[in-house]
């Protein structure tokens, strides 16, 4: 418990002034850079760069690149590829220049801003080492310059009067000693520190991965780690030294705060540098530091809430290990000096002052050379006609970050304009819509993955109606599943779980069956852990090992058979025990009184405009995802249910709506539900595309056949949905029918060797708040979150003011997490899944010695096109301005451009985009060349045979099949 502030402020043996601890006061700010991810068992997407949200987007990206080395955009070559395949047009580049908010003061004479920008945007600059540029120009010159003597051109460009040296490097005195060491040493010292630090953190924070725990796990991380360091034998001299100091720290009973100060002072006597050093130290192992910081703030996520966790403890251990590693390195070089300051002086001296950067031509020259090469006729005139100083200035003012911002805005504009054009085309050619009393109604989560499912339902059953809303169905419950003590908060992160609901075995044999199930799992678990011990393991492996051979043959050489066996087992297990819900009905903590129930139900129904007429069967479908060998499984589940599947909320919703008291209550408020309407809750599995209904034993006889029919219809739609998903799967190439597609996705969900069980939210790009009529029959390529909302019944914008801040944090978080995990997978994502090693039920690390990795794996984002969420709302600019002014949560992200807010007029489908400082300005293809939206009779006609992203298309069932892809 050394880390408690009060303990440290007295017990300081050195008796320093509190104000000397500059770093301590700044700690929360310094730690804001750390990843803020919860343990991976409940993975919920959120903006990875949340701490920068108060800064305008492009500025934040430039800052992130400068401070943290994070790349916030695609690579130039990716954008050029998108330009070449037509996803970005010249018109979009023009819009990109406007939207980026850059002004062009320095442009060469006779050039327009557009020409100048385009010259650089289309330059294909090879990203080779600076030092090899001479070799490249000599041996591999750009093809277009073959006639113009590339070496001569390069020499001219190089000799222009460049203001070289714009590289702002961190001064060496702000760097941790170990980083200076890394610049001097061939071996990477962090790796060696992490090898010791990682297991210590894992063993301390372990939430149940190991069988046995190490001693002192409740004594604070510092004491725990020091004791292990002091006790362990090692052949590494620096670790032995560290162990000796650890023993003396234990004897001295020094607090973590003092220890950190001491160690910082050891490596840098100047205290004003400490915060900067500490920040960079934290960034050496951001995963573990971030987890410590997270668990310090969220005790409920710890192994046990009363286990002390503190970032300062962790930092003390890290700095101690670093100190001894630095000392050892110096011992090796034969200049052993005891003081860190001395080492720092030595290391700084040995840093090469004439760094390679200084010796070579600046990047600007290299960019200009390739810009010239991209359009030699026009480009070469630059060297002859322009004043060299002005030319250099113009190039230097137009930085690479500017170019990235323009490219990115152009890319998004290209997508946005095509969507708006499609909405306008739908407006001009409206969809007939469902029958007056729909065949059936189904409400799904607003998830982008349900877009294609809803479209498939509507295409196959034109008389049916679909709704989209938050996947927790407006029921923020703390749920205790059957036979468990672990509760789940089935609601978005920013919503407080207000009601406690327990699942209990239903009457009859369920209690006994539950116990049978439990004894089976206990036996399996015992067998597994026994096989891992040395003595019983050795006896067992000879036996179970031989039993494992059939599993190997079936599981790996006949995967589909394995999938079917596993599916059958899972089905049997699911229907094994019947269950019921139990909740406190009297007012009090966690209660869910009938009045509250009616409130919740009613407010969801008016929000999503489900106010009648009602069909005879109404299905609420939560969604979840089944996969194996996937530590990030919960990332595929419902973000609105806190990273769990949404089936229990759907069940509860249906159960409530089937109760007559609730129906009476909401009838008083104006929603009349006919007595021949039955509500049913279920689950849409987004991985194996199965739709199952729960609580089927409670369905009255009159509704049973209707419900079964509806389930069959929904499953048929799900098979079509599977076909649409298969178009993007490499291993499903050539599948053109729903049945094989369904088989494919089923075996995928059960395949141990499948790192991409499904594609998740990849390619999400927009959210649409508005009546389904505006988007029904539009092929949106699984890229849109769809929220049912009726502006006509929402006079004064009350509902939208509730819906925007309620949902935006969830979908904005998903979008930005995908965005950043895609553009910088190494830093903000967790890299490739293949070497991942689950650790301490907290997350994954790479192999045995990697840092804890946060963010999404590469396999989950590789086909994602990073586009900031384009939130389109069927409303008026005035209403939305009101929301922005009153809702700080919305204002923050919209004003700073972390999501784009677009107002779409419900009557005319004219669009206006919010630009900070200008308000809503007209958007869309209106003033540019018209974008022809293609039509198709069915979705499948449009997508079959294409693996990449498709432009929106209008589905007109009567269209006579003339389909051509947008160029």
């Amino acid at each position: 418990m050394q880390s408690h502030p009060q303990a440290s402020s007295h017990g300081s043996p050195t008796g320093r002034d509190p104000h000397h601890r500059g770093w301590k006061a700044l700690l929360p700010e310094l730690a804001s850079f750390l990843p803020n991810q919860a343990p991976v068992t409940t993975f919920v997407s959120q903006n990875s760069l949340r701490f920068l949200e108060d800064t305008p987007f492009h500025e934040a990206m430039a800052r992130a690149r400068r401070i943290l080395g994070i790349n916030g955009y695609l690579q130039f070559s990716d954008y050029i590829g998108l330009y070449r395949d037509g996803s970005i047009g010249d018109f979009d580049i023009q819009e990109g220049i406007d939207r980026s908010g850059l002004s062009f003061d320095a442009i060469p004479h006779g050039w327009s801003a557009f020409e100048w920008v385009r010259l650089f945007l289309l330059a294909q600059v090879p990203c080779h080492a600076r030092a090899s540029r001479e070799w490249l120009v000599r041996e591999r010159p750009p093809r277009t310059l073959r006639d113009a003597d590339p070496v001569h051109v390069w020499n001219r460009v190089k000799s222009l009067p460049w203001n070289a040296g714009g590289h702002a490097l961190t001064p060496p005195e702000d760097l941790p000693l170990i980083e200076l060491l890394a610049r001097n040493e061939a071996e990477l010292p962090w790796q060696r520190v992490r090898q010791e630090l990682g297991p210590l953190c894992a063993m301390y924070l372990d939430r149940g991965s190991a069988d046995w725990s190490m001693p002192l796990r409740k004594a604070g991380f510092l004491k725990f780690a020091m004791q292990i360091l002091a006790d362990q034998p090692t052949t590494q001299a620096w670790l032995a030294d560290a162990g000796r100091e650890a023993q003396s720290i234990l004897d001295r009973e020094v607090s973590a705060d003092d220890l950190v100060s001491e160690l910082l002072e050891w490596q840098q006597p100047d205290e004003s540098k400490h915060p900067a050093i500490l920040r960079r130290s934290m960034m050496a192992h951001p995963g573990w530091a971030g987890m410590m910081w997270r668990l310090e703030r969220f005790p409920s996520e710890r192994a046990e809430p009363d286990q002390p966790v503190s970032l300062v403890d962790y930092l003390a251990v890290q700095l101690l290990l670093e100190k001894h590693l630095c000392l050892e390195a110096f011992g090796r070089q034969g200049t052993r000096r005891g003081s860190g300051a001395g080492l720092r002086a030595d290391l700084t001296l040995s840093l090469d002052p004439a760094s390679p950067v200084g010796r070579h031509a600046p990047d600007e020259a290299w960019d200009l050379f390739h810009a010239i090469a991209s359009q030699p006729e026009r480009g070469l005139t630059l060297l002859d006609d322009q004043d060299p100083h002005a030319l250099c200035l113009a190039v230097e003012m137009f930085t690479r970050d500017h170019r990235r911002a323009i490219w990115h805005e152009a890319f998004e504009a290209g997508y946005r304009n095509r969507v708006i054009a499609a909405l306008q085309a739908r407006r001009a050619n409206p969809d007939p819509g469902p029958a007056p009393r729909p065949e059936f109604q189904v409400m799904t989560c607003l998830d982008d993955r349900e877009e294609s499912f809803r479209r498939a339902v509507e295409e196959l059953f034109p008389d049916a109606e679909t709704f989209g809303g938050p996947g927790f169905f407006g029921l923020p419950i703390r749920f205790t599943p059957l036979g468990q003590v672990i509760t789940q908060d089935l609601c978005p992160l920013h919503v407080k779980a207000a009601h406690h609901v327990r699942e209990v075995p239903a009457e009859g044999r369920s209690q006994v069956r539950l116990q049978q199930q439990q004894s089976l799992s206990r036996m399996m678990h015992r067998l597994d852990s026994a096989s891992r011990t040395s003595v019983s393991g050795s006896l067992l492996v000879g036996l179970i090992g031989l039993l494992a051979y059939p599993a190997v043959v079936i599981g790996f050489l006949m995967p589909h058979l394995g999938a079917r066996l596993r599916g059958a087992l899972a089905r049997a297990a699911r229907s094994f025990v019947k269950t019921d819900f139990e909740m406190a009905l009297e007012p009090g903590e966690g209660a869910f009184t009938p009045a509250e129930q009616a409130d919740r139900v009613h407010s969801l129904m008016v929000n999503i405009n489900m106010t009648g007429p009602f069909s005879r069967v109404v299905a609420f479908l939560g969604h979840g995802s089944t996969s194996v060998n996937n530590p990030h499984k919960s990332a595929y589940d419902c973000g609105a249910c806190g990273g769990n599947d949404g089936v229990n909320n759907a069940r509860l919703m249906a159960r409530l709506l089937n109760r007559s008291d609730i129906r009476n209550e909401i009838q008083k408020r104006g929603i009349r539900i006919p007595s021949d309407t039955w509500f049913v809750g279920g689950l849409h599995d987004t991985c194996d595309d199965a739709v199952v209904f729960e609580d089927t034993d409670t369905i009255p006889r009159w509704a049973q056949s209707l419900v079964n029919e509806t389930r069959a219809k929904l499953n048929k739609a799900a098979a079509h949905n599977a076909l649409e998903r298969c178009r993007r799967l490499h291993s499903a190439r050539g599948i053109a029918d729903p049945a094989p597609a369904l088989r494919h996705v089923q075996s995928r969900s059960a395949d141990l060797g499948q790192p991409r069980p499904e594609l998740g939210h990849q390619n999400n790009a927009m959210a649409f708040y508005g009546p389904r009529a505006m988007t029904r029959g539009l092929f949106l390529d699984r890229r849109s979150f769809l929220i049912s909302y009726n502006p006509e019944s929402d006079k004064g914008g009350v509902f939208i003011e509730r819906l925007l801040p309620g949902i935006l944090p969830v979908i904005g978080g998903i979008n930005l997490q995908y965005y950043f995990s895609r553009v910088d997978n190494d830093t903000l994502g967790c890299g490739t899944k293949l070497p991942h090693n689950p650790v301490a039920l907290l997350g994954v690390q790479e192999g045995a010695t990697g840092d804890l990795r946060t963010g999404l794996p590469r396999q989950a984002v590789e086909i994602h096109q990073p586009i900031r969420l384009q939130v389109m709302v069927a409303s008026t600019p005035e209403t939305l301005m009101g929301v922005i002014e009153r809702q700080p949560e919305v204002a923050r992200v919209v004003r700073n451009g972390w999501v784009r807010l677009i107002c779409v007029d419900p009557a005319t489908a004219k669009a206006a985009i919010y630009i900070e400082g200008k308000g809503f300005v007209p958007a869309g293809p209106g003033d540019g060349p018209p974008i022809g939206t293609k039509t198709a009779a069915r979705s499948a006609e449009w997508y079959l045979g294409h693996m990449d992203s498709l432009t929106p298309a209008l589905l007109v069932p009567s269209a006579n099949g003339e389909v051509s892809r947008a160029s």
């Binding site: 990203c127 080779h128 030092a131 070799w135 991965s209 011990t533 040395s534 293949l834 689950p838 690390q845």
Partner: protein, 728 residues
Amino acid sequence: MPLEITPDIASLLVTLIIGIPVATSFFLAVSMAFLKPTEDWERPVSRLAMLAMGFSLLLVAVMAATWLAAGRKTMELTLPWKVFSEWNIFLYDGISALLSLVAALMGLATIRFSATYLHREPGFTRFTATALLFLGSVLGAIFADNPVQMAAWWEFIGASSLLLIGFYHERPGPCSGAVAVLRQYRIADAGMLVGCGLILANEVHGEYGSAALLPAGVRDVAAIGFAVAVLVKSAQLPFSGWLPRAMEGPTPSSALFYGGLSLHVGLLLAVRLHSLWLTSPLAQWLFVVCGSLTALDAGIRSRVQADAKTALAWSAMSTVGVMVTLVGLGPILGLELWAWVVPLVAGHAVIRWYQLIRSPSQPMDLVWYRKSMGLPLGRIAPTPLTVHAWILVRKQFQTPSELVGRLLQAGRVACSAVFPSHVRSLSSLLPLVVALAYAWTLSDSQTGMILTIGAGLMVFVMALAPFHVPENRPMLSGVTGACAIAMTGVLMAADHDFNSTVLFAGGVIITVSAVISVLGLDDLAEVLAATLKGTTGMALLAQSYGHGIAMGATVFLAFTGFLATWLLSSVVSRLGPVDWSRLGGIARQAPRIHAGFLLLMGALIGMPPWISFLLIDGAMESASSFSPWMCLVLAGFWAVVAFRLGRLTMECCWGPPRGPVADGPIPDLLDREWIPVLAVTLLLGATGLAQSLGVGHHTAEHEAIHHAASAAPRAEPLSPIPGMESAE
């Protein structure tokens, strides 16, 4: 009804079983060298690999079935129809039958698993090619007829494991993991080298049992060498640290190597050499003590380890520890316990493989278990007494292990201090000095004159080479030139009545100076030069015994020198003067330069058993005539040189880009530049093959002598394993 299977058919089957995966791997590697693999390769590559492994598995099954039907006779096989050789190179018995089935089945399952698991991974083809090489080598080791053959496949297993551990060579973790494994593997290889060298030197050839026929003193040294090899490869204490570090590759490779096969290769050797252990109480106790300590230590570690893969690695080690103990305990108790190890290996391999393949499920499984049992997720159980006791016992080892650590550290510091750079530069001229001294002893003024003029000419030509590296030029040119000259001199003098003492002393001096200077170096170019020098020393040692190895050594040194110069200067021509100690990340940026360096490293350290292996082997024979203990020292020296060279090559090639290439990739070798590298490699390989066929020891006389000598001990033949007997 016993079915007859002719030796020719059997050896054809075995050749195909090993050859198909290896040839497929070679085909993929060559395709990768000239064409850039794209995502479109995946399907054909995985089909081809599955076809190859499937075919291999089929043949394994056919072979096993026929062998069972034919009465389970132990067969020693030559190459089919005795092409190339008259010697037995394959052994087929119950052990090979069972283990080859296990290996081929797991190989096929792993390849099938990786086909989807590694989809869209940039290194898909590289992984498949390496995995196939690994599987082929494991099958080769299973079928090997004698320790020397086993050593050859053992090296291939080591090399391919290394490449797979460092599969993600842009990250520091896998790199340092691979280097840590390399360090331990070289200890194992040194042990293997000693054992094999002594067997070859004493000309007791043939199957494993003959190792026991060595003269008593020599036999003890050989047994220690082999025992160390077994302990390292099975990750037993005190060499147990490498296994968790090896978990850095993609899940299927970790499963295959460290759950499934690699970990058991050491046990295979231990089982095969069971008659050797009978003669060596030291080895028996080594196995018992190390094995049981590992079983306890790793067993407890696996239960406190909080990450899934490392925990599995420790539990695999603890089980293997039990098996190693069994091997050692057998001779002590007078029981044939080794025979029980084989079925245990078969069961253990597949269960660990399966558990490792499933390790990403661990959180889901645990959460599911805890949920379904109504247990809370997070839990801090009181620490069991066992853990407290374990910590207390481990604490007792603190002082000795720290002492070892300090000694190693002090050694490195001392070595860099002993040989400052100008001394190093001078010492690279040692081979030249030795060669000239040798020429002098010939008292043949004509030869001496030619040598001197030739040396001057060579140094002059090398000095003109376009290195652009002021500090490296004299060094490299001097060394490569000198090595070539020295060896030319030896070659020319080979017909003369020579003074082998000069050669022997010169070889020892050169080798030792190379080892000492290599220890203090952090510069790839200089370590390459020092390794060349060390190889020269080894060649002189070998020649002093009179093996006529000079021709091969000359070719080898000239070509490796050429290759080194070529690769270094190609990097330099792209980057200008280079600080080699600060170079990193070539592998990702310039795969061909990287491949060239790896081939060069392999050639120099004899990792795949190329011609340099013969130099070392010759040197072993030469040294063993002096004292068998000298072999241990020499092998240790060679392990040090190889480790340093390997580490520096990998540091330059692997890891995150540093130094001059931090700001972008360096342009790769062009097609026309790549051709000489491949050509030299092929030539070296061919020379190695020719040499190995040329210096075979299995002559008819040897066979006769051997059979006469081994008639008595062979009364205890390699009996089939008990499990197979009872199956009938």
